[in-house]
Amino acid sequence: DPMPEEQSLAGLEYDLIGRDDLWTYEALPEYHQAPFLDALVESGALPPVEDRLPAEPLVMQAGAMSAGIGEYGGVFRHVIGGRPEGWNILAGQHQGWGGINMATQECLVRQGPRWQVRPEEQTGPLPNLAKSWEWNDDMTELTMHLVEGAKWSDGDPFDTEDIAFWYDDNVQNADINSRISKDAFGGGASLEVIDDYTFKFVFPTAQSNTVVEGLAYIQGCPGPSHVLKDFHPDYNADMNYDDYLNAMPADAVPIPVMGAWVPVEHKPDELVILRRNPYYFKVDSEGNQLPYINEMHFKLTTWDDRTTQAVAGTGDWSNMENPGNFVEALKQSQDENSPVSAKFGPRTLSWRIELNFAQNMTDDPYEQELRGLFRELPFRQALSHAIDRDAVGQALARGPFAYPYIGGFASGSPYYDPAYSVYTPFDQDKAKELLAGLGLEDTDGNGVLNMPGTGEDLVIDMTYKPQRTDDRKQMDAVTSQLAEVGIRVLPKTVDETSFDPMRNAGDFSAILQRANFVLPTRETCGNLPVSDICPPFHLSGPDGRDSLPFEERLTAITSEMSATDDAGKQTELANEMEQLLTENLYNIGLVQVPAALLVNKRVQNAHPGTPVFMYEWAEDAVIRERLWVPADQQMEEILPGTVAVYE
């Protein structure tokens, strides 16, 4: 079936610029710093600003900023629902999302701000820690150049030692669950360090600039090797991988970062405070070291609260992505005095059900039979037919917000083409028929189908994050709808902090969650079978992966896509991918919604039209290091005059 008609709510006004209009790398005649740092320099606590900056810092162009060169100082208040798991990003720990991650980490390249770039100049990711790169002729070697003289926030130099540690000792180490998994980058690239600031990836097959996108947030971000090496079992025999994972526990701050802000306080469940990183390697075109804002707060509450507080004006930021809040927030923001205004972008937020296909990863006979069913296409089709996506969407929020999602690319993705989406419309009779065809019958008359093998009731344990209201509402709807075809869903709650580890361990039957599939290069491992441990819903198990018929093709398409820069070829591959994903129902899509970015009006340079999610989340896309607040509107800092101090 074809996809139903879509009504767009997007109100984005793009004013697009050239790729190099955003930033360059060059030495400026003079540099300035946040005034309070002068005292620290004077006291000898910090070297002068020019010594802290790279020889050629990254220079943000004033022309690309909507409100121009900023004023120093003030506080930016985030509210998030996540909780930092730990700071060892190399071992895959998350920081609770919501933007702490991107405030503290810098990656080799950058994707978020690309939305601002004219289509014809969309030639791969933007430079960041890697200021440039070049390919050899047969596209099997990628040589990258780091910003020279950049430093970690504790003053330690950032160089290829960090790159080698990241790639060789973490990504390539199968004992560590890093963000890129072993052999996933470019089909198993090897690293060669050339000098302090130059290194080379050597690929088994030809690649393209697309593969470099995989080095953006959150995948290609190095960690402080000078700290972490001491905990790594390869460097310190006293350590095991557990110790390594916990080398930088969540409440042990400060930690050395490359990001614009350093976490200096963490009161669990209450607050994380970040202060400016005096070694940050970026400046504006007048030589002012970035960021402009001195202090950043992350209040640890709930995701709904993020929107509520942004609307109320007590938080400065929200990715308004919870449809339950939309109408109320829109109403409130109509008020002239409202601290924020709201405009929707395209539909890039999508929810789906992930079914665990790794039948060989469980010993429980019931679970084995269940996963066997998951592996049957008719079963997945039955599930998909049984779900009334319109109703799910309306359950989220009445109105025109939600649109059915069938898996594959979100409709706001540049790769999305409805023509290649295979739609399984709501048809419970069909669903029942398909289930019956699989030998599923209600033999004990309790209204729940029994499985042909173990004879047990067909009960699917479905894990979700209860803190996410939208997930919960969809869970309710799915539970009720699947019950109508005789499938009992047992919602299982897992706290946000433990959700990722649980998912990565493949420790679930099914998951209902939001997973935005917009670019195949972003969080690839979470979506596609690119290595033994990707995706989490189909881990390989000790005796290898028992692939579904289309999975190998998916793997191939993914690598082909990263191997080509040719837009036409990419579209073709994307279409095939879309088709494979949807006709095979790799995931059972539910709905997709647009989102609106709420930034307090007091904050300058939040570029109009920044999408909540496109190439990356808005926290990255908005370029927070350039945000500023006029001095008279700045809020009082809690830790004025300080920067992180390391023992």
Partner: protein
């Protein structure tokens, strides 16, 4: 001397109780399938693709290190020993930190809230009850009764939702979803300003839990006081020429407090129970929501520790109530003294 002896004896009597509770708590930990190492195994297996057999030696070593290879009884003893000697309740799987730390940050504020809730709800309940009883069948009595009733009848989470809605969308309050404003969170010492700021955040918790908590006390107090006011000794007090206040507060009220105080002992688990719903709805980080999320994640050492703590609270609460009772009523004093 007598009272001290009584106290010691009562405390001693709670030891078998605590042992029983700790056994049950430990059994709950054990009842959840899989231990820490199993979890580690399955996670590592999944992440690395290593086989079970490959990981076994490491797992065995880990089990040995953690003492998980011992018989359950020994494990229990070790667990208890650690608690008693080092106040160590084990590790939280989920937080990867000692349980005491996980609970530790939340416990003081939880206790602060809980104890004020219990005290205030009892005091308010008693006062409302006195008011209702002395205005029997008048408007005041009816109003007090209705207030008390609504407190029992409306689910706490509903009241909390209403309050949250008002705070967020109507009053645009900055004091939501936390126990303190950012600037006070870092202050380790309590100042008046911090406390005031704390109150601004937690008043809904107090309001709702006190409202719900006073109801039973109000009703009980009203009934008892009505009975007591009919007592001959109250007449006697009046006949002595005492003022109305003195008759009420010196002669009637203390005698009517008996069941209230008795009940106080059981009310102590209301400390945790009372705030849990509200804290969950309002997103306030106290022990209540932690119980829930730990259970959801089967972080059983945390659950068991909370369990033990609440049980100890309850035991202490009961002890406290007994003492209080003995303090206000000599008949009880003699009875408890000779019973113990």
């Amino acid at each position: 001397m007598d009272l001290l002896g009584f106290l010691l004896k009562r405390l001693a009597a709670t030891i078998p109780l605590l042992i029983a509770i700790s056994i049950v708590s430990f059994l709950i930990i054990q009842a959840v399938p899989g231990d820490y190492v199993d979890r580690w195994m399955s996670a590592t297996q999944a992440q690395t693709g290593k086989s079970y057999d490959e990981l076994l030696p490491q797992a065995t070593a880990m089990r040995e290190r953690l003492g998980l290879d011992q018989p359950v009884a020994i494990q229990y003893l070790v667990w208890v020993k650690d608690i008693v000697t080092d106040f160590d309740f084990g590790m939280s799987f989920r937080h990867n930190r000692p349980v005491t730390e996980v609970i530790g940050v939340r416990l003081p504020r939880t206790l602060l809230l809980a104890i004020s809730t219990v005290i205030l709800s009892q005091v308010i309940g008693v006062l409302l009850g006195i008011y209702a009883a002395t205005n029997q069948y008048k408007l005041g009595d009816n109003v007090a009764t209705v207030i008390a009733f609504l407190g029992i009848v409306i689910p706490k989470f509903v009241i909390s939702l209403v309050i949250l809605y008002l705070l967020a969308f109507v009053w645009h309050s900055p004091y939501i979803g936390a126990v303190n404003s950012a600037q006070y969170i870092l202050q380790d010492h309590w100042s008046l300003a911090k406390f005031w700021d704390f109150l601004k955040h937690v008043w809904p918790v107090l309001l709702v839990s006190i409202w719900a908590g006073q109801a039973y006390t109000t009703r009980m107090m009203r009934g008892n006081l009505l009975d007591t006011l009919n007592m001959q000794y109250v007449e006697t007090a009046r006949a002595k020429g005492l003022s109305k206040r003195k008759v009420l507060f010196k002669h009637a009220v203390p005698n009517a407090l008996h069941p209230v105080v008795m009940n106080l002992g059981t009310r102590f688990d209301y400390m945790i129970k009372g705030e849990i719903e509200i804290a969950i709805v309002l997103g306030i980080p106290t022990v209540g929501p932690l119980i829930l999320s730990s259970v959801a994640d089967r972080d059983m050492y945390v659950v068991a520790a909370i369990f033990m703590m609440v049980a100890v609270l309850l035991v202490l609460g009961n002890l406290f109530a007994d003492l209080l009772l003995a303090l206000i009523d000599p008949r009880v004093r003699r009875a408890t003294l000779s019973r113990a």
